[in-house]
């Protein structure tokens, strides 16, 4: 049975089912609270939920039993001398060492846990970046949303932040440098595009079988890097739009990527009232529309950056995404055909297979 963790504006919904056999809501947690992200660490079986209460602030909770209690993780906070409090948590990512995890949040912060997620510490070298006073947020805040570890090498990690570009570390997060060459921020004045660090990355993933390769959905652009994030090449030709938020890879195919284009930054809905996923299997040279079974008429959906995920790999790879409309869609054949997994949920923030 497939277990989907769906973070929504009004809590965490756990869907159970199988492609082709339907899904049902099996559990709910954090009722009424915005759940920005939820995932399960496959190494330990531990579940994590990033909950941003409008009243009580952002927290990370964890549970070893979905039907049991959730505990609040300790240490998810900014220093007392920070200008503002922590705003939001966007992601939790297992690292390469046992019991090591990363969490990303706003304003442009990285947390690390060395005990499986019960306690966390702010990554100080990143917090202390000297350019931080010049950093700018995107519309969703200055969010550290993508954390790409390097399979087998805990020293190498890449971050992506809206809107502070890509950051690379080769020493386990002790030092950081930009990885922004080649991005084209057309939302900036022409004179400022070359030097700016206001680079609004929407999503970034590393190809596990070829870890020097990364794919990126930008705020107006889709890119690939073949040099571990140092430089980026546009691969947007062939897409109906280069704007969107989420991105997924087939982990066994380093030439693969999936995106869900939206019209543009000023009209963040699926183009022409049709919901379509686009797939490349040649590293972005060509894109194939995947929409069999997805809404094709009068469907103006918005799919947020953490609301698309994969399950497994190859021709039977599962794909799942949710929209702010409260619909969740799935595929059990790598996008060839699609089904509706849920409707009428609250606006979907994130979707992950447990």
């Amino acid at each position: 049975m497939t277990e989907l963790l769906v973070g929504t504006k009004k809590g965490l919904f756990v869907l159970h089912g199988e492609p082709g056999a339907g899904f049902e809501v099996g559990a709910r947690a954090f009722a009424g609270e915005p759940v920005e992200y939820a995932m399960r660490d496959a190494r330990t079986g531990r579940y994590f939920a990033c909950v941003t209460s409008a009243f009580y602030g952002p927290k990370v909770f964890y549970s070893d039993d979905l039907g049991g209690e959730w505990a609040q993780a300790a240490g998810i906070e900014l220093p007392e001398d920070a200008e503002k409090p922590l705003e939001r948590l966007w992601t939790v990512v297992p690292a390469e060492d046992d019991d090591h995890l990363y969490a990303g949040g706003a304003p442009g912060v990285l947390f690390e846990s060395r005990d499986g997620g019960a306690t966390w510490e702010l990554n100080k070298p990143f917090w202390d970046q000297p350019t931080r006073p010049d950093w700018s947020p995107g519309a969703g805040g200055m969010c550290t949303h993508s954390i790409a570890t390097w399979p087998g090498d805990p020293s190498r990690v890449a971050l992506a932040i809206s809107a502070v570009g890509v950051w690379l570390s080769d020493d386990g997060g002790q030092t950081w440098r930009h990885g922004n060459k080649g991005m084209y921020p057309r939302y900036m004045p022409e004179e400022a595009r070359e030097e700016t660090i206001t680079l609004c990355v929407h999503n970034m993933h590393r190809a596990p079988k070829r870890p020097e390769r990364l794919f990126m959905q930008f705020h107006g652009g889709v890119y690939r890097s073949d040099d571990a994030g140092e430089s980026w090449t546009s691969i947007a030709d062939g897409l109906p739009s280069d704007f969107g938020f989420p991105m997924v890879l087939d982990p066994d195919d380093p030439d693969s990527a999936y995106v869900i284009p939206l019209v543009a930054d000023m009209d963040r809905v699926t183009p022409d009232g049709r919901v379509r996923v686009y797939e490349t299997r040649d590293a972005g040279a060509t894109w194939t529309e995947r929409g069999d079974g997805l809404p094709s008429n009068n469907a103006y959906l918005t799919i947020l950056r953490q609301a698309f995920c994969s399950d497994g790999s190859g021709p039977n790879m599962g794909l799942y995404f949710g929209a702010t409309s409260g619909d969740v869609f799935g595929s059990g054949d790598a996008g060839a055909t699609w089904f509706t997994a849920a409707t009428k949920l609250p606006p979907v923030h994130s979707v992950r297979v447990a």
Binding site: A54, F55, K59, E80, A82, P85, L86
Partner: protein, 86 residues
């Protein structure tokens, strides 16, 4: 001693107690004392900088209170989420 009244989830973080008596001369004193006595509350009412979170209201008797609001010995504090959201 001020009487502090809590609602869920704060009362759950305070060991299930919906009313507590705490010592302090200002609202901030009381909130710090609450955190000290019940560490699970830390970060829920006051943020990292020690400010009352934007969408939390602290009433002193029937008036809105601020961090620096001074308290009578028999003050009653109500800690209530703001009327906001979507």
């Amino acid at each position: 001693m001020a009487l502090v009244r809590l609602r869920a989830p704060l009362s759950e973080l305070a060991g299930g107690r919906r009313e507590l008596e705490l010592e302090g001369t200002t609202v901030l004193d009381i909130l710090r004392a609450l955190e000290h006595e019940h560490p699970g509350v830390k970060g829920w009412i006051l943020d990292e900088q020690g400010n009352i979170r934007e969408h939390i209201n602290v009433f002193v008797n029937k008036e809105y209170g601020r961090a620096g609001t001074r308290l009578d010995p028999d003050a009653r504090l109500h800690i209530i989420p703001a009327i906001s959201g979507g």
